[in-house]
Symmetry: C2
Subunit: 350 residues, 2 copies
């Protein structure tokens, strides 16, 4: 069963059919991952005949194939894996996690379908109402965890509080932040600033025992004031996509400026290697995938545009997630929170 | 009266007491502006004795001082200019616009107080319910106008539609886009994606006669897919501040990478001049200020952190706004829209 202490190797199901560049880049990413993380055992999930042909005998010895004859298309309804397409690769991945046959799944396919499969097939940690997609954002001196970045268009105050608790643990266990500073995404730092959702959430976040620093503004994602920033998935998704796009725009512009004539090209050739680290830090492909926190087991959601490198990194994230038993730690902490609330009812908190 | 066709010179009231670096940087900015834009007549509004002393006789010959003995502090309520502080610099600036003594005002002070003063003292264009703060965002091949970026925490569908109409005109008249592509900020491009606000707004934006391209994702602010992106001020403010901060983070990191040792410094010294244009394009200070669209007359809101350069550029924006009679053009277009609706009631639109 997902949620138990697992023995090595870490077992990961990879949806071979999801994403703009499936299955080729997914397969390549899986192959890169088994080279780089030899303790990880990968099951590629998708149309068996296709995968078998593309993998070839050498790779087949090191990767397990699990057949899933159906594919969720981007035009499909998010509910497809529960209804018409129960043999789809996303659903089969979720089944494998639920049955304890793997520790985590990775998919670059339909996010809504993955979310639904995670929530209903893998199942939620007791006390968590909805999974939240948590994205690592780069900053000068480290990273900030932003959640939710798109799994939940709406969120209620108690759900944002769950996001905060889950983000706290992920930041602590995976990102190595001892006492993560939790910010509530809003406009204006003062308690009274924001909308109804943030005002009510501010009030209840004060009693979580977390290192709650109050409202965070958009700038606090990148300036190092917070380690975890919570928001609903509507705001989070817009900020995430705007940031990715701005980052890409800056690098495109930079490359263009440093190639407009031979002299600039020469300077560019010297400067590029020095900026490689920064470029890497800004590149979403390096972060691989965003975990869906709150699920019993690991579920890593990748960018639809993921290439082999992104998939490899998502497998790394899945491995870290499973090896550190993040889901169990969240379960324990959410349990604590509910015990606390029982003693001091939510609406009486001050 | 504001809203009439004005004769040169363009007259601008500048709030000398607003912002983190007031009054020194504001004064410097005003002085830079009269050098650079000789057709602009500036009234500096603030504590007369202070301003008189700081300006000196030379500058006094070229700048008018208007006394405003009170200052709105950041801790003040947004309603202060209407109640306790009717002699404040923000309120006096708004009075000047309302009375037609100047064509536009510029303030880096309390945004809420400026918004309230614009809405109630200067007054709204008939048919516009609330002013929207419109920010120019850089992209590779031009700029995108994002509104609202913080004036309205909440917005209703018909208000977002007003923002779209106003943004259309600003983009056309000031940014030189012939047929601005209007996007509705949401998550997912399809009509059904987003929250209740975006779904309803999508429906009514289709009948505005604008070049409505449907939902815009966060990335579409920077990738050139849209010329105007509309959203409520909660989302817009978060995206704006996140983008500014990410931009600053990139440049800080770049400078750090290109100065870590003598060789890198040497490459940096060659590369910097080549990247100056890009840095400038990414720098919010270059955009000066964001106009509050929908007000009868010009009202430019600046960043609280504005320095002299930002103030100078905000005065340029105010000048462009007033010289192009943006408020009148919005008034006419909003009038058209209402006539249209009268013929075809809003809720029957398809």
């Amino acid at each position: 069963m997902a949620g138990e202490v697992r023995s090595s190797p870490c077992r990961i199901a990879v949806d071979a059919m999801g994403g703009d560049h499936a299955p080729d880049e997914i397969i390549k990413g899986a192959l890169l991952a088994i080279e780089k993380f030899p303790h990880v055992a990968i099951s590629l999930v998708g149309r068996e005949a296709v995968l078998r042909e593309k993998l070839g005998d050498g790779a087949l010895a090191r990767i397990t194939i699990v057949d899933a004859p159906e594919v969720i298309e981007m035009t499909d309804d998010a509910l497809a894996p529960l209804r018409r397409k129960r043999q789809s690769s996303i659903r089969v991945c979720a089944n494998l996690v639920h049955e304890g046959k793997v520790d985590a799944m990775v998919s670059a396919g339909h996010t809504g379908a993955t979310w639904i499969s995670a929530k209903t097939v893998i199942g939620m940690i007791e006390g968590v109402s909805r999974p939240a997609l948590a994205q690592v954002m780069p900053r000068y001196d480290g990273v900030t965890l932003l959640l939710d970045v798109g799994a939940n268009v709406h969120a209620k105050p108690n759900q944002l509080r769950e996001f905060a608790v889950m983000g706290h643990f992920y930041s602590q266990e995976i990102l190595g932040v001892e006492s993560p500073r939790i910010g509530l995404m809003s406009i204006g730092e003062e308690e009274g600033k924001g909308n109804e959702l943030t005002k009510e959430t501010f009030r209840i976040l004060k009693d979580t025992g977390l290192n709650f620093i109050g409202n965070a503004e958009g700038r606090d994602i990148f300036n190092g004031r917070a380690d975890v920033v919570v928001c609903d998935g509507f705001v989070g998704n817009i900020v995430l996509k705007a940031s990715e796009s701005l980052g890409e725009m800056v690098w495109t512009s930079l490359a263009s400026e440093l190639s407009r004539n031979p002299i600039r090209k020469a300077v560019g050739a010297m400067a590029y290697p020095m900026l490689k680290g920064l470029k890497k830090r800004m590149d979403w492909r390096e972060y691989g995938g965003a975990p869906l926190l709150g699920v019993k087991g690991g579920c890593i959601v990748c960018h639809g545009r993921s290439n082999a490198k992104a998939i490899m990194n998502a497998i790394r994230v899945a491995d870290e997630f499973a090896s550190n038993h993040i889901d169990q730690k969240i379960r324990e902490r959410i349990g604590d929170l509910h015990t606390r609330e029982h003693a001091s009812p939510l609406l009486a908190v001050e």
